[in-house]
Amino acid sequence: MAMSDEIRLRFEISGDDFTRAGEASSSVKKELKKLGIDPQAVRKVAIAMYEGEINMVIHANGGAIDVVIHPDCIDMILKDNGPGIENVALAMQEGYSTAPDNVRSLGFGAGMGLPNMKKYTDEMQIETERGVGTTVTMKVHI
């Protein structure tokens, strides 16, 4: 890729079909592999985006994800119009979860997603407003 080149991908995430949660992350992973991007970077993007995509579905009734592939990094912007996060510092703590029991019976809701997203990315920001929505921005260096 030349320095000016970038690839943009956009996904609409449905909020009412848990079985499809992760499809966007899966196609991004495939695309990155196809581009020959370092497998370690691909794994980081895949895990962080998947956690974020699942969060959108279980906590925010869906949203949209933009992925921008630059020659030296990958940006992910996850935007939803969900309830927002009341206390981000608390939400970032391992083990903090407001997920109901039905989410736990699907294998999620351990309160590990946000800290895991932070762990696997080089930069992460959360902008959120109660009743308006949440935007999570993440960057992984290649």
Binding site: F18, T19, R20, A21, G22, S25, S26, K29, P39, R43, A46, I47, Y50, E51, I54, E94, L106, G107, F108, G109, A110, G111, M112, G113, P115, N116
Partner: protein, 118 residues
Amino acid sequence: MTVRDIQEILHATVISGEEHTDREVHTACGSDMMSDVLAFVKDQSVLLTGLVNPQVVRTADMMDMVCIVFVRGKQPDEAIVRLAESRDIVLMNTNLRMFTACGLLYDRGLRGGNDGNE
């Protein structure tokens, strides 16, 4: 060991991905919480679980795992099987329970991987 060895040790039935059973595997993890798999697993290539939904396959896919073993005789539906096939992930099931299945594999040399205690 290979995926085929896992099938034999657990008296498991291969549901799909038969053509990938010669793959080498060194480490495994057992969990019904995909959150924990995503957060704590590093390079494990086999997932043993009692949970059956498409997110099990997606989680394994994100972690680059090669094989999923459903314990307690759990049977994935057609959509799950197709998803696993498209990701080249072997699916199998065993009637054994989680503890026993993990124990048998551990006894035969499969390890938990980078958890700091081995």
